[in-house]
Symmetry: C3
Subunit: 448 residues, 3 copies
């Protein structure tokens, strides 16, 4: 997000181009109006991104079996809380302050500046310095903070139904306080990948693939749910326990994504910003719609039935795919990028079963696989830098997957990453929380 | 929405008036600030309208029996996706571009203009031309696009539990790509009804009645659910399967309606717009509240009990009713218009049973009957043009109901509009999708 | 909200300060731009606060037993409707118009001004008078109106499962039409507590404690649910019937609170407002996150298990606690205030069981106890006025609890406050509404 897409207008033979988004190309707005609108844009779009956390929670609590639906709620509200505090304590500094290639500042806590406080106190001598920044310090912090939580949300879905609560929280501390901020420092923070020209407008790779890699590492170390992959090579189906709630989750994510991509323009200070955000929201919607429809239509031949979950995950995959370049001015490409994202996700879900990695909600296909596709698609569509994009995808993948594997390994060897078999059988709700998600409803005994 | 309400200030003896909303009466804001705020207003209110789609999904998936709760989720996310793509491919052009009385342009696809792209590329010579439009092209497209989806959502509710998935999608293609855009061309696009002076601020008739007529045609052609109307003349009650989810849906719709009506001011470029939108949101809320309370209170004598569903549908009917004239400056009239809307809906639900048309969620009473009332109420309250309003209601009704009947008829004679009796009995979730909405919950066998 | 926090910059030894928020300290924005942005800010944040009503509804309908889940939905949509109408009819005038110490105007109805109507009609001579107010009349009304509903929502949760529907609505009429507006007149309306210097930025006491006191009075008069407190001194556990829905409710509240606190800046007219709102949203989030985490961590030693409900209620308590002073510039204090709020709530829930007051959702601990803490914390953190804060908390407590007790008493002696034992046993859904929340799901017989 702290990063200008240096794409070529007019682009390749495909007549594709991504928008330049100079912070104030035309800028007839005066400094204070710009300041107000930029800050307000961060806050209002940021609030929508926070809402995505509720989306992940609904998606996940509807996807798991009823016996684990409460604990996934706690994991999600917990991860959002941890992400916010960690990004305040260390994350923002590490990601954005004094980034020298690889890493930012190790200073503790971030906050409103002394100039801003002075201005609030009536000292107008600091006004020029404050306005010169273009937006209020904490509006930017707020917007960046909710992004961290998104990354963390991806992990909880993949690892549901067997990772234990406190181990999960420990990993989230590492992810939100260190892993994600470092990836952010390399890119939006102005570090080495940014200098190479890596393009990822709102974070197909930086946010979504990072979450996906962390989830994948966890899924491998923690292992599959007991009985998911049978000895005879067959895979036990574990359908969502509450489909309307899953669907609600997807709609929430779709809505929140307007904030995720729209807010990543990082400004609302003139006509160019207004045009860009309008294009971004339109493309975001077109890509998601294409993700849904391509996945539904293709699910018939591929899976042998019209698959609702493929459609729902197709929306997310379409959204993830367009996230690296939602400012593309040829809307047909938005449709293709999103649609292919849906297809990538559909095949990815099959692929995960083949390699026997247990991803409860299909988060790795939707966020990692479609995220890689989207990051490469930026480049293809804009006609350049394929090498840089590949370097970025690869470097971030190696880093996040590597560190995450180490962290998950340490967790599993110390506090243990996985609940006891008895608790897994009984359900984490009763086993870890002593509460059931639907205590008054008669539930079916599980068949094995 | 592309339409100024030429209502009389001071109005009739009833001292009622609707607000004029000139795009920039006072307009101390400079061109670029206006451009930014107008565009942002489209986007942020439009995002709220998109959210209504989640509202319809929840309302409908909670209203149907559990055996059809998944397929209605798929229909809803599918219709939203189709609506977005169709409005991009053909709908917007047909509705708004070069409208000559009856119909707009047949050109394919719509998008960011070349001037806007040039401006983004740094060519400031085009700035005056861009700014002169007052808002970014795609912000307007985005806002209009989400309206199409609302129309389509109305149909899915009425026809739930028996229309088959792909037939439904085919109808939605026709509705969002042709039927609704033509109605829109006549009115907001500047066509013949607009020239006559037809008034429908945010679409009581244009959006809600259109959806209602299309749903009604479908309900007649497709027929009632098996066993809904018994041979002895009695009606089988089919209560909602998940009341909290239905209620959530109504709250979502209520929230989204602030965007629906507020955004239909189409501008945020000065004090007059700010005043108008404030009045609109306040009236929208008052009308919905009155719809709820009038319906609850009246449900006691009419239905013999305090009826939650009458109250919930009363909110929607109140919202639909005020939608044609939410800018009325006498707030007491907003209360009356909304309250009467709730009552119209209450009796409408009874009426539908009498004429034996099966509307699963009561969408026809809430959107069509209350929509007609609201469209006429504009006129009564503002003291004029009753004839024009009736012509508009009638013409749109004949057109939409006629074409929809033809389309549904063709569908039913070719691919078939209705699922096989066995699938209807079994439920569409298992029958069409091979998935259940609540697979772990023990469900009651249905009594006939 | 109509109230400036006269806190000391630099503050006490604790180096804490609250932001001054002068309406236009720097104000480079011209009058019309200010007017548009202030009004828009009221509307958009207000819409988010309305959304909190859906949050309370989900929280409560998921918390009650399934047999009472429909009636609580009706109570919530009903209370929101009543609140909106009452605040239009009498509440706003009583709270804000011509407040002379204790009470405002007794005039009926509130609405758009004649100057505003004239301006809309094209009479630009009134423009200076209109612009001088700084925001449109109804944008402010809309924002204040949704606050009333919040107060009312608190009561429905506490009294769920035994208070009868119409008695509840009668109390809500009194609460929203008289009790809350009087409290508001004393404070934000400029009355005697305001003149003393009572500080409550967005309503820890004015909104949340008021709701809490009203709920507490009701809980005492109406009494506990049958069988909740057993003769042997033990307490029957009544776990939530639908945990994902409760969690959704909390996320909705969290999102809505950004509007609740952010909008209470009451302006968006310059850099100082932008900075203040950014600080407010950041602190609001930090406090809620701390409320969650402190409560979860502490629930282990205190309750003997990691308690999801303590965490969820901790979020709300953290939000309530920070609401009195979300503009604090030392973010560490926001964390402490919110975290302590979560702890206060946790112990408060135990305390309620000890004093045998039955609060179904823990609204009294979360809104009243944490609200008192937050109101005192403003003062402690800013280094002054503890006496005034205590006076305010005490006076409002005595007034609201006293009047509420009287009203509940009258209700109980006339129409009866409580459903018949048979209906309580059967459930209010079947007993009062003739509808069940989940009619197709097999439910467990209740054990006593």
């Amino acid at each position: 997000m702290r990063f200008n897409v240096f794409a070529v207008l007019g682009g390749s033979a495909a007549t594709v181009a991504f928008l330049l988004h100079p912070s104030s190309a035309l800028a007839a707005l005066d400094a204070e109006a710009s300041y107000v609108l930029n800050s307000f844009s961060f806050l209002i779009w940021g609030a929508l991104v926070m809402w995505m956390c509720a989306g992940f929670t609904m998606l996940e609590s509807g996807s798991v079996r009823t016996k684990n639906a409460s604990v996934i709620c706690l994991k999600n509200i917990g991860l959002y809380s941890i992400a916010g505090l960690m990004f305040y304590l260390v994350g923002y500094n590490l990601m954005y302050v004094d980034v020298s290639g690889w890493i930012g500042s190790l200073k503790l806590t971030y906050g409103v500046t002394t100039d801003e406080i002075a201005l609030l106190g009536g000292d107008s001598s600091v006004a020029p310095a404050v306005l010169d920044k273009g937006y209020s310090t904490m509006s930017d912090w707020f917007f960046q903070m909710v992004f961290v939580a998104t990354t963390a949300s991806i992990v909880s879905g993949t690892l549901a139904e067997r990772v234990n609560l406190w181990s999960f929280f420990v990993f989230i501390i590492a992810l939100t306080g260190f892993i994600y901020p470092v990836v952010g420092a390399w890119t939006w923070g102005g570090g080495w990948l940014s200098e190479m020209g890596f393009q990822d407008f709102a974070g197909s790779t930086i946010v979504h693939s990072t979450g996906g890699w962390a989830a994948l590492a966890g899924a491998i170390i923690v292992g599959a749910r007991t009985g998911k992959f049978r000895d005879d090579g067959s895979v036990k189906t574990t359908p969502p326990s509450n489909v309307p709630v899953v669907t609600l989750g997807v709609f929430i994510l779709w809505l929140g994504w307007f904030g995720f991509n729209g807010g990543s323009q990082l400004a609302l200070a003139g006509a160019t910003d207004a045009i860009a955000i309008s294009v971004i929201l339109s493309n975001t919607n077109l890509a998601a719609a294409a993700g849904v429809l391509f996945a539904i239509v293709l699910s018939r031949p591929v899976l042998g039935r019209v698959d609702l979950l493929a459609g729902l995950n197709g929306a997310i995959a379409g959204l993830v795919a367009i996230t690296a370049g939602p400012d593309i001015v040829n809307h047909n490409w938005a449709i293709i990028i999103g649609g292919v994202g849906g297809i990538v996700c559909l095949f990815g879900m099959k692929f995960m079963e083949i390699i026997k990695v247990d991803d409860v909600v299909g988060a790795v296909p939707a966020h990692l696989f479609a995220g890689i596709w989207g990051t490469l698609a930026v480049c293809i569509a804009a006609g350049g830098n394929l090498f840089v994009q590949i370097v970025g995808v690869f470097a971030i993948g190696v880093f996040v997957f590597g560190i995450s594997t180490v962290v998950w390994y340490i967790i599993s060897k110390t506090m243990g990453a996985r609940v006891a078999p008895m608790i897994e059988e009984l359900g984490q709700d009763a086993g870890e929380l002593g509460i059931e998600a639907y205590p008054e409803f008669v539930l079916m005994p599980e068949d094995d």
